[in-house]
Structure formats: C-alpha cells, structure tokens
Symmetry: C2
Subunit: 189 residues, 2 copies
DNA sequence: AGATTTACCTAGGAAGTCTAGGAAAGCCCC
DNA sequence: GGGGCTTTCCTAGACTTCCTAGGTAAATCT
C-alpha cells in the first residue's frame, strides 16, 4: 500500500489543473482520485466534500490572479495601470479557463473573506486613484471596470466574438481606450 | 397507467421553471421526472439526454429574451433605445436567473444557429444605428455593450455588488450614462 | 521497538444518467 | 365495436458519482 502523498494543497492544485484541461464543471472527487491513482474515498480525509474542493480551487485561483495582476500593476499609474490590469486579468482568464471559471463561484462569506477578494477590490481602487474620483463615483467606476472586463472575457472565451473578421484583441484595445476616456472625463454626480 | 402528456415542449418548459427556482445546475432528468410524477426513463422518449434538455432551456430562454428586448425596443432610438435594451436585458436576468444562466451555455454551432442569437446581434446593431458608427467601430461597440451588460448582470446576480451602501441600480444608471457618452463621442479609427 | 497517529483501503448506500425491452393507452379503419 | 398499429410510459438493470463507516498498513514519536 504505497502512499500517494496526498495533502489538501496537492489535491486542490490537481483539481485546478483538471479544471483548466477538462472544464471546471468536470472537477469531481472521482476524477481527482483517478489522477492520483487512489480511491475516491481516500480524498475525504483531506477535503470535506466536493463543494470544499471547488471552493479551494476558487480561493487558489483568486489568489493567483491577484498575484499576477498585482505584479503587472507594480510601478504603473493612470492609463498604463488600467491597461496592465486589464491585460493581466484577460490573459489569466485565457490561459487558465477552468481556474477563471472557479473565481465566478458563489463563495460563502467567510470563505470569500479569507480569499483574495479584498486585494482585488483594493487594486481596482488603486487604479482609479489616478483619475481622481470621489464616492460614490469611485464605486460606480469599480463596478463598470469589473463588469466590462468580466463580461468581455466570458464572451470571448465562450466564442461569442468568433463571428466576423474583427479579432477580439482589437476590440479589447478599443474597449480599454473607451474606458480610459470615460474615466478621464467622468461627470461628477 | 394514466398518461402525463409529455412533449418536448412541456418538458423543456418545466425544466426552465425548475432552473429559475432551483438553479440551472440543478436541472436534472430526475428532477423534471419528479415534477411530472413520472419515471426518469420516460423522458428519454422526448429528449435525447440531459445535455439536450439543457440546450433546450437555453434556446427557449434566448428566444424569450429576444422577444422581451425586441418589445422594449420598439419605437425607440438613440439613448432611449440603449436604456430600454439594457433594462430589458437586466430585468430578464433578475426575474429569470436560471433561464439567464442557461443562455450562458456553450451551444454547439448548429443549435446556436437555430436559436435567437442572430436576433440579439441584430438588435444590438439596431441600437447603434443612432450613433452613426462604421465598421469596424460598430463591431467593437457591439462587443463593448454586450460585455458590459453581461458582466454587470452576472456580478450583480452573484452578489458581487452587495458590499457597500451604493445600490446596484444607481451604478447601473451611471454605467448606461457612461456608455451613452462613449458611443456619442466614439473616436473614429 | 512499541505505541500512536496518519494515510489509504474495502464495502456499501443513495442518487443520478441512460439503455433495452415490455405493457397498456389511444388512434385508425373496417 | 373489435383488430391492429403507434405512441407513451413502465420495469429492470448497468454504470457513474458522492459520501460514510470502519479496517489495515505505513510513517512518526517516545
């Protein structure tokens, strides 16, 4: 009975890889167990249940995403920061589709708290600092940015932009231009 | 052995209701069978498999959404049309969460073709007619609108805007203002 | 080395998807 | 109104997945 060396971390990491290759909705206890050549029951010593496994992938992905966005953002401001943020966000979603899908999960408040959600919010607000908005405009702008990025990435990944000759990247740049000028000339409320 | 009167249409309609009440991911053959007080095997005479059941809900929802958006759009132009479109879109998503989730499904090309996807694209372009854009600007603008609406609605429904005192509706109006002025002063490429 | 803890096992219940083949309800036609 | 046909729903069962309970062997501690 050789041991496979299971730990919560290794299990969740394997589940995240599986999400990227096979889709987040196909992350199952059985599939992860097969990957480790172990019986599915063995996983329950490390992860409470399927929901916790998926939540684990979500928290991991949120953290990775925050790390990458944070790195891309370092030392930039204004328009540069906006573009760096957006590109980091989009490229994470494109290169890690399953992990990105996991970040959409509805997390229970306490799990969300322990996750990097707060860092995401802080970074988004940091970008806006360069545009000199005050509340509640800043909140509206955060929501606009987040919505646009999220929506674009989801539609692009879902193949929604595949029709027509215009590459998605070209539209993406145009979207960023538009957001930049909207933020620059934000009408005070 | 009284007959339940199953048809593909009634089954898919029941599945759509179930999606709204219990969540799209909980739409299962067994659950629909229970609703009709019928054995799950009986459904397979009308619907090929679970995937086809869900696709059916997606197509149904896309059609309903196109109908409602189309009705809201009738006789409007410019900013009015933009707001009517957006509000119809958002209100469908809020009142029919499960159906809206279904519209996000990845459909195989032929199914998507038979669906109302083309009508959605046409309506979005119709709105833009008032802003006098030319290709490829129009395509970029379609993608911007679609992304923003979609992203906003998803985040709002997922509870992403629940923190803070600012109601989502207030941000929504501000987002629409922003989109309107962006479209009005779209920089020609 | 012996005791304890930890990791993984077997066994099995409950629920879901889907196939194959059977019986009965509703319909057509004489 | 009864015979034959089609459609509708059934039972039975194979296979998968989630998860619990309790057992055994490996690693670790003293």
């Amino acid at each position: 009975m050789a041991r496979a060396g299971l730990t919560p971390g290794r299990i969740i990491s394997a589940a995240a890889d599986l999400a990227d290759t096979d889709g987040f909705e196909n992350v199952s206890m059985s599939a992860v167990a097969r990957h480790f050549e172990v019986k599915d029951a063995s996983l329950y010593a490390h992860v409470r249940n399927l929901h916790e496994l998926r939540s684990g992938v979500a928290v991991l992905s949120l953290t990775e995403l925050a790390d990458q966005v944070g790195a891309a953002l370092a030392g930039r401001a204004g328009r540069d920061a906006l573009v760096a943020f957006a590109d980091a966000y989009r490229s994470y979603a494109m290169s890690h589709p399953g992990r990105y899908a996991a970040t959409q999960m509805q997390l229970e408040p306490q799990v969300a708290e322990q996750s990097a959600a707060a860092r995401h919010a802080a970074m988004t607000r940091a970008i806006l600092r360069g545009y000199g908005l005050n509340e509640p405009d800043e909140t509206d702008a955060v929501r606009l940015l987040h919505s646009t990025f999220h929506g674009f990435v989801l539609l692009e990944r879902g193949g929604g932009f595949s029709r027509g000759p215009r590459p998605a990247s070209a539209s993406w740049e145009r979207v960023l231009d538009t957001l930049h000028s909207s933020l620059s000339s934000w009408p005070s409320s």
